[in-house]
């Protein structure tokens, strides 16, 4: 852990200081949506339901699974999703 650091903003300060979300998709029709199962019980059932809705809205769906919910996704998996999909939905479950 480092101690608190304060930097001076080098920008025009037109954006909020908090980190910004990436741009959202404007529509789902024709988009490829990744569904990432983090490997917790019941995740599959939740994502199956999401998939049905997405298909109805005209999206394509690709399914992925993390090896374990306890760790962040392996770099290879993140890269694969970023290349193959326009957006990803992560299926948390408990």
């Amino acid at each position: 852990m480092t101690s608190q650091t304060t930097l001076l903003d080098p920008t025009a300060e037109l954006m909020p200081v908090e980190r910004q979300l990436l741009p959202r998709l404007s529509e789902l029709a024709g988009a490829t949506i990744g569904l990432l199962d983090i490997s917790k019980p019941r995740g599959k059932e939740f994502l199956d339901e999401i998939e049905k809705h997405l298909l109805k809205l005209g999206a394509r769906v690709k399914r992925y699974t993390k090896p374990t919910f306890a760790r962040v996704a392996p770099t290879e998996l993140s890269q694969q999703i970023s290349v193959e999909c326009d957006a990803v939905i992560e299926g948390l479950a408990d």
Partner: protein, 453 residues
């Protein structure tokens, strides 16, 4: 003795060991240096005599026995000590300390928004994630670093430099200092960085258009005059390459300002088809070792002793090999032949260029008795070309000059479109061409210069 005679009227402020001197009861721990900073102590010991409200205090520094005796009115003060010791520098004068103390106890206020990072954030990564970087790591702009950068100029932090394109956002000296820190500049480079922004904001440079263009070009900086040696810039071996901090970071600072303040983001308003590697930084000093050869700044009306930055809207680098010419006439023809290749061999009067002449090629001209003006004149004459060779379709190439130029003799460069600069290492019969923007000239960008103050 001083303590016993002055009784409660003596207070000792101690910068390092607060237990010293044990014999004095009125001892105040100033290891924080707050008292020393607020009272502008430069030498220890400093003896201050406080007077009545109406009178000013007076001070003496170091140890001069006679002076101390007169100052305190104690005749035999320190009789057993040596007569004179000059004292030491106060800890407030340690390198870098002034800015730290100014931040803690001084009046410096920053206008820029403060960005507090979470404890878990990596500082370098945080700068990337906020979009402040050109793709390379930036130096995190902490308050103390910005304070140090501001110490490189006498100008006020809140002074407005102008509106930075493309978003036309007002830019202060402070905002520029933040970006100069991130670029990796030292405070002593800051006057050059300020001048670079002032030059870029000159209307004839057309920074907005240059940023938006699909062409390769970006600001190319040439530094002339004493400042280049003072801040250790490279005009010699590998002058246009990597490895010199001033060359690398001054050029980068302008690019970061355009990005961060102006909002000029590649793929956003910056529409370059390919760009060029100089868009990270393209800055070098001219070799002014030959007093018979005029510098770029002198060509542009300045004196040899002036420190000047010139900005040229330029792109990559094209080599000229000539290892055979021993006469100026041959070398000039050789260079002219290569200069025809700027942008396209059949496009004339359109794209400006900087010809960077190496020391070995300069030697050929010098030994042949040619001045820089002679070189320019010879190139001008060599580059006159009949329109019949240049019009669209000529030589079975569709590209070329419009048909209306068929019966006209054209020059490759418009008036004041070819600039000559000296740089490079002493070995190698190579010179170079920095090609200009396709919108060179009065309707696009023209070279600009700014005195560095």
């Amino acid at each position: 003795m001083l303590a016993s005679q002055l009784d409660n009227n003596l207070t000792v402020y101690v910068q390092d060991d607060p237990t010293f001197p044990a014999s004095i009861s009125h001892r105040i721990d100033d290891t924080s240096l707050e008292f020393s900073y607020r009272n502008a102590i430069e030498i220890v010991p400093t003896l201050i005599r406080l007077k009545n409200d109406s009178e000013n205090e007076s001070r003496i520094f170091g140890w001069d026995k006679q002076q101390w005796q007169e100052f305190t009115g104690i005749e035999n003060l320190g009789a057993e000590l040596i007569d004179f010791k000059p004292g030491c520098g106060s800890k407030t004068q340690d390198p870098g300390m002034d800015e730290l103390l100014a931040l803690k106890y001084g009046n410096q206020q920053f206008s820029a928004r403060r960005v507090d990072l979470a404890e878990s954030e990596d500082i370098m990564e945080a700068c990337f994630e906020r979009g402040w970087s050109d793709g390379l790591p930036v130096v995190p702009p902490t308050t103390v670093r910005v304070m140090r950068m501001l110490s490189g100029t006498d100008r006020n932090a809140d002074e407005m430099l102008g509106n930075i394109p493309p978003d036309n956002i007002p830019c202060t000296i402070e905002k520029l200092a933040i970006n100069a820190v991130m670029a990796g500049c030292k405070p002593e480079y800051f006057p050059v960085v300020i001048a670079s922004v002032e030059a870029a904001l000159q209307d004839r440079f057309c920074m907005h258009g240059l940023l938006c263009t699909t062409y390769f070009s970006a600001p190319v900086m040439v530094i002339n005059g004493p400042v280049s040696k003072q801040i250790g810039m490279n005009s010699g071996v590998n002058a246009l390459g990597q490895g010199n901090r001033a060359n690398a970071t001054i050029g980068r600072a302008l690019q970061l300002v355009v990005r961060n303040v102006g909002g000029g983001i590649p793929g956003g308003i910056d529409r370059a088809t390919m760009g060029n590697p100089g868009k990270y930084s393209y800055c070098f000093a001219e070799d002014e070792s030959d007093s018979n050869w005029n510098s770029l700044a002198m060509d542009r009306g300045y004196e040899r002793g002036d420190s000047v930055i010139s900005l040229f809207a330029g792109g990559g680098l094209q080599a000229i090999i000539d290892q055979q010419s021993r006469e100026p006439e041959s070398l000039a023809k050789s260079m002219a032949a290569s200069l025809r290749g700027v942008a396209h061999t059949k496009l004339f009067g359109m794209v400006d260029a900087i010809l960077v002449i190496s020391p070995e090629h300069r030697r050929i001209y010098r030994e042949g008795g040619w001045s820089k003006a002679d070189v320019k004149q010879a190139l001008y004459e060599e580059l006159m070309t009949p329109g019949t060779e240049l019009v669209r379709g000529a030589n079975d190439i569709a590209e070329g000059m419009p048909e209306k130029f068929r019966d006209i003799v054209l020059n490759k460069f418009q008036e004041d479109g070819l600039h000559i600069v000296s740089a490079g290492g002493t070995a190698g019969m190579f010179s170079a061409i920095i090609d200009g923007w396709a919108a060179s000239g009065s309707l696009g960008s023209q070279i600009v210069s700014q005195k560095i103050l």
